[in-house]
C-alpha cells in the first residue's frame, strides 16, 4: 500500500487503544445510505515502473524535441540554470508549509522577504507581497485595490494588455457592477486621445508595458494623464524588461504587477506561474496576499514573520482584502534564486541579449518581400509581423520544418489574421533565427509562384 505505513497489526493495536472494534466502527457517524455504493472508477494501482512508463509516454506526446519555438505572449522560453532547479528541489523548501510557526520556518520567510525586496527594487516601488497566482489575477486584484482606494466604479484598460489578462479582469470584476472601458490602440499602443476620453471618474488604468505586442507604451505621458485624473496607474510589467527599462515607480504607477514565470521557471504548459505585486507604501494595508516583514526575536536576533495578517482571510474573513491563501510560494523562491544567481550584471546581460536577438529577428523577417512589421514603434522582446498570406497556413507549413513562428494575432485582434506575434529569448541562436527567416521566405515564395 503505497505511502501508508500502517500494517494490519498496527491497525489492530491502534484500534485497541482507541477502544473500537474495526475501522468501520470509527466511521459509524457516516450514515449507511450516504456511502459510496461501488469502488471508485479510476485506473490503477500502478507500480512505479508502470507509472513512469505511462506518464512518460504522455510527456512524449508533447513535441519539445527538434522544435524551435518563437511562442511568447507572456510566457517565455528562457533557460533555467541548474542551480535554481537544485535549490527549488530541496525538500526543506518544497515539502514545507505556510510559515505559520515563524520560528520553525525562517528559511521560507527569509526567502520570501528577499523575493519581496527584489521585486521592490526591480519595480521602483515601496512594498511588495509574497506572490499571487499569475500576472493576470495580480492585475485584476490590483484594479480591485484601486476601486477600494478611490471609491470609483470604473476601470479603464488598454486593448494592448494581453487578451488573457483582459479576460481574467472581466471575470473577476463581473460581480462588482464596475464599468470596464477598453481603450483602443493607435499603431499598436494605447491611443492617448481615446484614453483622455475614458479617464474621468476612473479608479484605475490597467496598462501593460511593454504591451502584448512587445511595444513600449508612452508610459510617462500616460502616467501624467492618469495621475491628473485622480485614477491609479496599475502597470503590468515584464520583469526581464526592468533590467533596462525605466521602472513603473518612475512613471507614476501606484501599483505594479506582472508575470514572473520568466524568472527561472519552466513554461510548464502554462502553470505554475508567478504573479508579483508591488505598490506605494500608502497602499500597503490594501494589498492582498501574504507579506513577510523583518523584526527581532526575544534575544535581539533578526528574524522574519508574516505581517499585517489582519488584512488576510484567516483573520478578517469577509472583510479581508482578498481571499487568497495558498499562493505561488515555491515559484517566488525560484525567482529569488534566479535573480540572485544572475545578479545585477547577468540580469542586464540577459535583457540585452533578449532584445538584441528580437531586433535581429525583426530585421531578418521584415527584409522578406511581402513581410512587414505591424507597428512602427520601439519593442523589447517580441514583435508582430504581417505576412502576405494567411498566418494559419504558414504555421502549418513551418511546423513541418520543426519551427513554430509565433502566436496568431487574429484570434484576439480584428484585422490581424495574417499576423503573428514572434518572441525571441537568449536560447535562440542566430542560426535558429536565420532558419526561421529562410523557411518563411521559402514558403512565401512558393505561394507567390502558385
Amino acid at each position: 500500500m503505497p505511502y501508508v505505513p500502517n500494517t494490519e497489526r498496527d491497525r489492530d493495536e491502534m484500534l485497541e487503544v482507541i477502544g473500537a472494534s474495526s475501522v468501520e466502527d470509527l466511521l459509524r457517524d457516516v450514515p449507511a445510505e450516504l456511502r459510496a455504493k461501488a469502488p471508485l472508477e479510476v485506473p490503477g494501482p500502478l507500480s512505479e515502473i508502470e507509472l513512469v512508463r505511462h506518464v512518460s509516454e504522455l510527456a512524449a506526446r508533447n513535441r519539445v524535441e527538434g522544435v524551435v519555438s518563437f511562442l511568447g505572449g507572456g510566457i517565455y522560453d528562457h533557460a533555467v540554470p541548474a542551480a535554481v532547479r537544485h535549490v527549488v528541489r530541496l525538500p526543506h523548501f518544497y515539502t514545507a508549509y505556510t510559515p505559520y510557526q515563524a520560528e520553525a520556518s525562517q528559511g521560507t520567510l527569509q526567502t520570501i522577504y528577499e523575493f519581496q525586496s527584489l521585486i521592490v527594487r526591480l519595480t521602483g516601488m515601496d512594498v511588495a507581497n509574497a506572490s499571487m497566482y499569475d500576472g493576470a489575477t495580480a492585475a485584476a486584484e490590483a484594479c480591485l485595490m484601486a476601486i477600494d482606494a478611490t471609491k470609483r466604479r470604473k476601470v479603464v484598460v488598454s486593448a494592448s494588455v494581453s487578451p488573457a489578462a483582459r479576460r481574467v479582469l472581466r471575470t473577476m470584476l463581473a460581480p462588482d457592477a464596475v464599468d470596464i472601458v477598453e481603450v483602443p490602440l493607435r499603431h499598436g499602443v494605447t491611443d492617448l486621445a481615446a484614453l483622455d476620453g475614458a479617464l474621468p471618474d476612473a479608479a484605475a488604468l490597467l496598462l501593460q508595458h511593454p504591451n502584448y505586442f512587445g511595444l513600449l507604451e508612452p508610459a510617462r505621458e500616460i502616467g501624467e494623464r492618469v495621475s491628473s485624473s485622480g485614477a491609479l496607474l496599475v502597470a503590468s510589467v515584464d520583469p526581464v524588461s526592468l533590467a533596462l527599462l525605466a521602472p513603473p515607480g518612475s512613471y507614476g504607477a501606484e501599483i505594479a504587477v506582472g508575470e514572473g514565470q520568466s524568472l527561472g521557471s519552466p513554461m510548464g504548459f502554462g502553470g505554475p506561474l508567478l504573479g508579483f505585486m508591488a505598490a506605494r507604501k500608502k497602499h500597503v494595508r490594501r494589498l492582498p496576499g501574504r507579506i513577510v516583514g523583518a523584526t527581532v526575536d526575544a534575544h535581539g536576533r533578526r528574524g522574519y514573520v508574516m505581517t499585517l495578517q489582519t488584512r488576510e482571510q484567516h483573520i478578517r474573513r469577509e472583510k479581508a482584502t482578498s481571499n487568497i491563501c495558498t499562493n505561488e510560494g515555491l515559484v517566488a523562491l525560484t525567482a529569488a534564486v534566479y535573480l540572485s544567481l544572475l545578479g545585477e550584471r547577468g540580469f542586464r546581460e540577459l535583457a540585452v541579449q533578449v532584445t538584441s536577438k528580437a531586433h535581429y529577428a525583426a530585421d531578418a523577417l521584415s527584409r522578406i518581400a511581402g513581410v512587414r512589421l505591424c507597428f512602427p514603434g520601439a519593442f523589447f522582446r517580441e514583435f508582430a509581423v504581417e505576412l502576405p498570406v494567411d498566418a494559419g497556413r504558414v504555421r502549418d507549413e513551418l511546423a513541418r520544418a520543426g519551427i513554430w513562428p509565433g502566436i496568431p494575432c487574429g484570434r484576439d485582434y480584428d484585422g490581424m489574421d495574417r499576423s503573428l506575434l514572434v518572441s525571441v529569448t537568449e536560447t535562440h541562436s542566430r542560426a535558429d533565427i536565420d532558419s526561421l527567416a529562410s523557411a518563411l521566405e521559402a514558403i512565401i515564395a512558393t505561394r507567390r509562384v502558385s
Binding site: P5, N6, R11, I18, G19, L26, D29, V42, V55, N62, G73, I75, P81, A83, V87, R89, P91, H92, A96, Y100, A102, E103, Q110, T111, Y113, E114, S117, I119, R121, V168, T171, M172, P175, L245, M267, G268, G271, P272, L273, T295, D297, V305, L308, T326, E328, G329, L333, V337, S340, L341, L342, G343, E344, R345, G346, F347, Y360, A378, R395, A399
Partner: protein, 494 residues
C-alpha cells in the same frame, strides 16, 4: 535598535553581495548588440541599476541551503496542521512533473503538438469527477481559494441565467476564512449561522436563515472539527427547497475518498485541493491547485477553455481545448491552471487506484482517532465520539495554569515537531486542530502524542518551561507587533 543592526543568523543576499560577481554565464551574443538608449529613447530607459545582488553560484547555493536548514518540513517529521492534509509528497511525481515534455511545452502550442498535456488534463478531470460523484471538472483555479471564488462565480452565473443572481451565501461560523472571503469577492453577502458545540451545522438556524435571496450554502464535510455532518441530506434538501445551491469546500476530502461521494449525496459543486488530498507539495505557500467539480446543470458556466476528447477526431486531434463556451464565467487564470501540479495529482491517483484511495481515507481516520484517544486524558475534547480525519483539542485546562495553545505550539517546536493549527476553528477556545494524515507511522504518531503529553504535564509542574518556548529553534519568539508597527518588507541596505 534597527533591524539592520540586529544579530543575524543568515544575512540577506544583499548583504552577501560583492561587486563584480555573477553566478551564471550566457553564451557570447551572436547578433549585433542593441543600444537600449538608441533603440528605446533616453526617457524610456533606467537611469540607475535596480540594485540586484552580485553573487557566485557557490554563494547562492550555500545561502539558500543554510536557509533551507532552518525550515521544518514534512520530509523531516510530522506536520499535523488541521485541514491542511500535510501528507507525504511522492518523489516519483516530482520527477514526472520535471519531464521535458511537460516542463518545456508552451501553452500556445498547437493541439496536435501537445496531445499528452491535454490528455492528462482531460483524464485528471474525469478521475476527480468520478472520485467525487460530479459530472464536469475545471482544473483552472490555481489554489483552493481560487476554486471557491470560481465556484461562487459559477453560482452567480447560474442564478443570473435563471433571472435573479440573489444576494446571500450562508456559511457556518466554523468555516475556514477563505469561504466568507471568496463569496464576498463574488459579490455576495456572507450570512453566518451558528454551529452546535460539535461544530455541526445548526439545522434549525439554517432553516431560519434560508430565503429566496440565498444563492448558496458553503459546507465543509467533514467539518473543521473533524466531524461528519450526519444531517447533511436535510441541509441539502432545505437549501434546494429555496432554489439555492450547495457547495462543498473539499479541503477535508481526505476523510471521504472511496467512502462518500459528495455528488451522490446532493452537493451541486465543490472544489478539490490537489496540494492536500492529492499529495502535491505545499512548497512553503504554493503552488497549489484548486479544481472545481460541478453537476451537469452548472457545467456550462465553468471557466474556459475546457479539455475535451473527440475519439472520432473530427478536428484532426483526439484531445483539444474547447474555447467556444458562451455561458462560461470566463477565465480565472492566465492559462489553464497549474499544469505541473496536475501531473503530480494524476500520477498519485494512478499509483493508488480505487482500493488504495479508500485505504487512504480509512487510515487517515484511524490515525486521527488513535491520536485523539492517546491525548484525551491530558487535554479537553470539545466533541465526543470518534472523529474523522482530524480532531480539535482545547487547551483550556492548560490555560488555567497560564499556558495557552500558542505556548504549547511553540514548545512542540523544541521537540523537532511542527505544531498543529492553533486558534482555529474560532468556535473552540484555545483550539489545537490536529490532522496527522495516513502517511504517518504509528511511531511518528506516538512521538507526537508523547510530546504533547509531556507538555501537558509541564504545564502543571513548570509552566515557565512552556511559556518560554521555543528555545532550540534558530530564533526565539519574534516580535510580531514590531513587524507590524515598524514595517520592513523590503531590504533597504546595500
Amino acid at each position: 535598535m534597527s533591524v539592520l543592526d540586529a544579530k543575524v543568523l543568515e544575512p540577506t543576499v544583499f548583504e552577501l553581495s560583492s561587486p563584480g560577481r555573477t553566478g551564471y554565464r550566457l553564451p557570447a551574443l551572436d547578433v549585433p548588440e542593441l543600444d537600449p538608449v538608441a533603440a528605446f529613447g533616453p526617457q524610456a530607459v533606467r537611469t540607475a541599476p535596480p540594485g540586484l545582488p552580485e553573487l557566485t553560484e557557490p554563494d547562492v547555493v550555500r545561502h539558500f541551503t543554510r536557509l533551507a536548514e532552518m525550515n521544518h518540513h514534512v520530509d523531516r517529521a510530522i506536520y499535523p496542521l488541521g485541514s491542511c492534509t500535510m501528507k507525504y509528497n511522492p518523489k516519483v511525481n516530482e520527477d514526472l512533473a520535471g519531464l521535458p515534455g511537460f516542463a518545456a511545452i508552451h501553452p500556445e502550442a498547437e493541439p496536435q503538438f501537445c496531445q499528452g498535456a491535454i490528455s492528462l488534463m482531460y483524464h485528471l478531470g474525469r478521475h476527480l469527477a468520478r472520485i467525487s460523484g460530479m459530472d464536469e471538472v475545471s482544473l483552472q483555479p490555481a489554489a483552493g481559494a481560487a476554486g471557491e471564488l470560481t465556484g461562487m462565480l459559477v453560482v452567480r452565473a447560474y442564478h443570473e441565467d435563471h433571472g435573479n443572481p440573489r444576494t446571500n451565501v450562508i456559511v457556518p461560523d466554523s468555516a475556514h476564512g477563505t469561504n466568507p472571503a471568496s463569496l464576498t469577492l463574488a459579490g455576495y453577502h456572507a450570512v453566518e449561522i451558528p454551529s452546535g458545540p460539535d461544530g455541526r451545522i445548526d439545522v434549525d438556524a439554517l432553516g431560519k436563515a434560508l430565503d429566496a435571496e440565498t444563492a448558496a450554502v458553503m459546507v465543509t464535510n467533514p467539518n473543521t472539527l473533524g466531524v461528519f455532518e450526519n444531517r447533511i441530506r436535510e441541509v441539502i434538501d432545505l437549501v434546494h427547497g429555496v432554489g439555492g445551491l450547495v457547495y462543498l469546500d473539499g479541503a477535508n476530502l481526505n476523510a471521504s475518498l472511496g467512502i462518500v461521494r459528495p455528488g451522490d449525496i446532493g452537493f451541486d459543486l465543490m472544489h478539490y485541493n490537489l496540494h492536500k488530498t492529492f499529495s502535491t507539495p505545499h512548497g512553503g505557500g504554493g503552488p497549489g491547485s484548486g479544481p472545481v467539480g460541478v453537476k451537469r446543470h452548472l457545467a456550462d458556466y465553468l471557466p474556459t477553455p475546457m479539455p475535451r476528447r473527440d475519439e472520432a477526431r473530427s478536428r484532426g486531434v483526439e484531445y483539444y481545448l474547447e474555447h467556444d463556451r458562451p455561458k462560461s464565467i470566463g477565465k480565472v487564470h492566465a492559462a489553464y491552471g497549474n499544469f505541473l501540479v496536475m501531473v503530480k495529482a494524476y500520477a498519485y491517483i494512478l499509483t493508488l487506484g480505487p482500493a488504495g484511495l479508500r485505504r487512504v481515507a480509512e487510515n487517515a481516520v484511524l490515525n486521527a482517532n488513535y491520536l485523539q484517544a492517546r491525548l484525551a486524558g491530558d487535554y479537553d475534547l470539545p466533541q465526543k465520539g470518534y472523529c474523522q480525519h482530524e480532531f480539535v483539542l482545547s487547551a483550556s485546562r492548560q490555560k488555567d495554569r497560564g499556558v495557552k495553545a500558542l505556548d504549547i505550539a511553540k514548545r512542540l517546536l523544541d521537540y523537532g515537531l511542527h505544531a498543529p493549527t492553533v486558534y482555529f476553528p474560532l468556535i473552540v477556545k484555545e483550539a489545537l486542530m490536529i490532522e496527522p494524515t495516513e502517511t504517518e507511522s504509528r511511531a511518528s504518531l506516538d512521538r507526537f502524542a508523547d510530546a504533547l503529553i509531556e507538555i501537558a504535564k509541564a504545564a502543571e509542574s513548570s509552566p515557565e518551561s512552556v511559556t518560554a518556548a521555543p528555545t532550540t529553534t534558530p530564533v526565539a519568539r519574534l516580535d510580531e507587533a514590531r513587524a507590524a508597527k515598524d514595517l520592513n518588507v523590503a531590504w533597504e541596505g546595500r
